[in-house]
């Protein structure tokens, strides 16, 4: 009898981590794409007017639409490639999180203006 209580066996993973890694990394890439597009639209007038998909909202409509499309496209591609694979999730998560934090910082106007 275990004095610490019953031992609950850790369940075995039945799904590979590939699909999860694809979701995490694509979210990081999509977020980063958003921050880069926002900076590019701010710096280059030609891109700014090109990204004004919906006039009342201006370039924000194009920046967010393109970023969402990049995110979904990367997710689809990675998911197909990693569907049945086990990948180095530590590395993938670290890269994705770094991209997300960078996106948070790069959307901050005083920092973006330094670039």
């Amino acid at each position: 009898m275990n004095p610490g209580g019953p031992v609950i066996p850790r369940p075995q993973a039945t799904l590979p981590n590939g699909p999860g890694a694809a979701a995490v990394l694509s979210a990081g890439i999509g977020s980063f794409a958003l921050s880069i597009l926002a900076i590019v639209a701010d710096k280059l007038p030609a891109i700014k007017s090109l990204l004004a998909f919906y006039k009342p909202t201006g370039p924000l409509s194009g920046v967010t639409t393109v970023a969402v499309l990049v995110w979904l496209a990367v997710w689809l591609i990675l998911d197909r490639r990693w569907r049945a694979r086990t990948v180095a999730l530590g590395l993938v998560s670290a890269a994705a999180l770094a991209l997300l934090v960078l996106s948070l910082l790069l959307t901050f106007p005083p920092l973006a203006d330094l670039l």
Partner: protein, 190 residues
Amino acid sequence: MEFTTRGLLTLLHGMGFGALYLLAFSGAIVELRRRYGNRGQASVGPDDEKFLKIYLVTMAVLAWLTVLTGTYLIYPWYRAVPPVGVANLAGFPQRLLQSNPATSAWHSIGMEWKEHVGWLTPIAATMAAAVSIKYGRDLRSHPQLRSAVLCFTVVAFLAAGIAGFFGAMLDKHAPVEGGAVIRLSQGEPR
């Protein structure tokens, strides 16, 4: 006591969808930690599992509703350009903020940050919901994936908090108003 339709929709965007997302965040963190924390031995039945999935999907839907109403409904009213010769900028919040050095940074920093950073939230929230649906209870066997989902959820909350804070401050300094007036009650004459 009355609202304008623009004011009401701004309220729905911020206090309805946005604030509800922020409130839901604490519940999600507690539930994810309870289930998948290092010492988490909570028994998780199929009903619990289903509840968490619905909860995270609801959060993602709230995040999408917040950014979509903000970007395509409220923001055009916020950035509307006044006709030449208009002196009263009350119906043109961006121009009103920019007309005064004491308030212009609410636009140049506040709105410029808010309009982009808010979009990080639905991306992260959708990812968290999708991973939860895909893995379900199996997420317990993927500690690195769990950690990644938790970290994204926390950063998404931070992004939503930044957007929410600036949204409230912008509405305080230059509220989005206009459209039809909805009168809720008539006050007593003095």
